[in-house]
Amino acid sequence: MTQHLPILSIISLFIGAFIVALIKEKNEMLRNTIVLIATFLSFVFTIMMYRPIILEGNILTYWMGNWEPIKDWAIGIGLEVDQLSLFFGLFISLSIVLSALYSFRYIERETGKDKYYVLFLMMSASVMGFIFTGDLFNMYVMIEIMTFASVALTAFRNDRPEAVEAGFKYIAIGSIGSSLILLATVIIYAQFHTLNLAQLAGELYNNYTAITIFALALMIVGYAVKVFAVPTHFVAPDAYMVAPSSISMLFSGIVNKAAVYGILRIIYVVYQSMNLSSMQFLLVFWGTVTMFIGVTMALAQHDFKRLLAFHSISQIGYVLTGIGLTTALGITGGLYHALNHTLFKGLLFLCAGAVFYATGTTDLDKLGGLAKRMPQTTLIFLIGAFSISGIPPFNGFVSKWIIYQASYEAGYAPVTIIALIVSVMTLASFIKVAQSAFFGQLPKEFKNVEEVPLSMRIPMWIMAILCIVGGIVPSTVTKYLITPAANAVMNSAKYVEVMMGKEFASKFYSNLGSAPVIDYKLAGYWQPIAWLILFGILLLAFTLVAVLGGFNPKKFSYADEEDAKYDVFFSGESAEFSHVGGSDLFWGLKYQFRHYFDFMHKIHSGLVNDYALSVVLTAAVILLYVFTFVR
């Protein structure tokens, strides 16, 4: 039974999608039940793989249709689940379940729900398949399903023109990325006459020719488009903003993570370019640029979800930097941050969805004072914001700390400094969101908003609790999840050996059976529990002061009079109860860096031609770089 688990967790989602397609649109109860059962089954099957793979250290292989390799030559499709795949699979299948649970009430007022759930399940299934497969072309097909389903779900609210526009942009850019991956796949197949990843890894071991390097460059650019690394990121904010929040969560939580997995699998396991300093520099540089530009753009946004989208880009920069360092510590940090990013960014997108559900807008200039009306959402949002900004007792701090330490130890001290600055700017922009959306003056039209229903709060609470757990017991999480995955990244010989047999592997590798030792010490004197206690004391003191009326002696009131006094605050004067608009909070910073921001606004022109050009230029630059430096 154990060996069938990977295919079962993929297939249950696909069958669920087809059954949902049969159900009539009106029959809501049955459809929700089937969606929940399919996603939950997939999650359970993934969980069941935990014991054999991570605890016992096995690698599951599965040949579809029993087409096992003959004479060391794979002709069928093989699935291979190692610790890295399972690590990604665990949190991806969890976020699929949570997103499905959240969707039921969130999109109840929309039309086209039957299509929504079909596409939702198709996208989830393709991501699971992408993570668990061991075949290059199968990866491409899964990416194709993923891209088209994402495009369709982006344009789900197609009564809004910007949704259709974002869908069109996404399909243009996404297709370019897919084409690059397909071209690389074709080149590799023409060169080696096989598509099996393990066999390719063996053939490519210390065997870099001009053709394989060409394919490598195309793969890097293709997956960078999927991961929305910086010069190719332009479409991401548009898509994340207009998609329903349950889908935005999946975009940043699973589609992006699948591309990160693709980079790890292709560059490190198949191409084994771990020890090439040129490749390290490329990823670290790219990641640093991505995190910096993402966060500065996020500072300038005044839409809740658009801001989150730019933060998503920025946090992916951390992940790229971490895995680019290629030290044990760096890969651990990158993987930990990938996990944390799924949790806290999913949480924040769900908060944005809750705000949209309650008020009908995500524009920060129009929102305000929702903390009185939606206390639980506010609390959850604060947990997410603290996590993403890296405040100690939450999980973001741990992974960011590991990345700082790893980059400093690897000799990239400037990267550490930039990462710290980016973290501060992240906090700044979330202060802006908290101030504009949840605190301050409650606008008159929102005085009747209510807390979101329970089925939407449950997924948010689960993620919030996981955020706290990841910050309090980092050593347990590292030991039982991250270290095995990092080990699998660094040990591609075992990947080949399990899939293709010992004879095949021993033709290429001389160091079979010797796993790399992951040994590092976390620097610093921080104790998570102590930080938690300190945080609790501070929170208690803050609450006490607030309850005793230390901050705001006058009673809370919403503006119920048509008075210019209660309008959005635009100028530099300070007045009682006046609400500073979201875009004006950091006006000083924005003024000082106006040339930079003007330049960035000009680049984000909204024209799909420019965006496509930037992707092509990126491809050209990466090709030049890879051909010049990678040996």
Binding site: H4, I7, I11, F14, I15, A17, F18, I19, A21, L22, Y62, W63, M64, G65, N66, W67, I70, K71, W73, I75, G76, I77, G112, K115, V118, L119, M122, S126, G129, D135, F137, N138, V141, M142, E144, I145, F148, A149, V151, A152, L153, A155, F156, N158, V164, G167, F168, I171
Partner: protein, 247 residues
């Protein structure tokens, strides 16, 4: 248009068509080459033979890489597409499904009124449809013996549906197509699960022991091709219904 008249014209058209077909057949027989509709001579060379230098009728001849790899289908391309890499093929069909479903969102529906088609199209569309359906059916039934297969067959069948729409005739409606699509999709995975129950491995060809080159050979390959053809036909026919709304 009255029914008796249209029936009469249809019969006349069919007669003309059958006469033309007979004439072509006669001429080809007379020239000596002939179109062999029924072939009693057992062919010695098949497609696989040409590509892989393997005599498919000889039990002892082997495929380049293995002894057992190609033991089902006479057409090696079909073996690759529907047997070795069946999972990929299924996923490709799903790509088509997702694309057509999703583009209904990206390109909102237009309202469209069908103009009254010309009499010629209206009369001839059933005949053309019959021919197209026959060719499409032939292609997916013989997919494991000769070039062709589920994808082109589905495309041809969907063209027949489209001609019906253009000619203003009622053929199939939106809901039927959706049901066909979903049932074909479920069946593909259902057979995959059936092979799990019978053989213990997903997507394994569990019907074996037939003679290569026969119509009913290749195990599950013709079954899968039929399902793929129906699914592709339903998906491509759906393009019209996804983009236009009749009023």
């Amino acid at each position: 248009m009255k029914d008796e008249k249209s029936l009469f014209i249809n019969i006349v058209a069919l007669l003309i068509l059958s006469f033309m077909a007979f004439y072509i057949y006669k001429v080809s027989i007379d020239t000596g080459e002939g179109i062999k509709i029924t072939d009693n001579i057992t062919p010695k060379m098949r497609v696989a033979d040409r590509f892989l230098k393997k005599n498919v009728l000889d039990e002892n001849s082997t495929y380049n890489f293995s002894q057992t790899a190609e033991d089902t289908s006479a057409n090696i391309v079909t073996s690759i597409v529907v047997d070795y890499r069946l999972f990929d093929t299924t996923l490709e069909v799903i790509v088509l499904f997702v694309t057509i479903l999703g583009f209904g969102f990206v390109i909102p529906k237009d309202r469209r009124r069908i103009l009254k088609p010309s009499v010629i199209l209206y009369r001839w569309s059933p005949i053309l449809m019959i021919l197209m359906l026959m060719i499409g059916g032939y292609m997916f039934i013989n997919g494991h013996l000769s070039p062709g297969g589920g994808f082109p067959a589905g495309a041809i069948i969907s063209t027949a549906v489209l001609i019906g729409v253009l000619a203003g005739r009622k053929t199939v409606n939106h809901k039927t197509l959706k049901v066909v699509e979903a049932i074909a999709g479920i069946s593909i995975f259902g057979i995959g699960i059936a092979s799990f129950i019978i053989k213990g491995v997903f997507f394994q060809n569990f019907l074996t022991g037939d003679k290569i080159g026969d119509l009913f050979s290749g195990g599950l390959i013709p079954v899968f091709y039929a399902l793929i053809a129906f699914k592709v036909a339903a998906e491509l026919s759906n393009i019209y219904f996804e983009f236009y709304e009749e009023c």
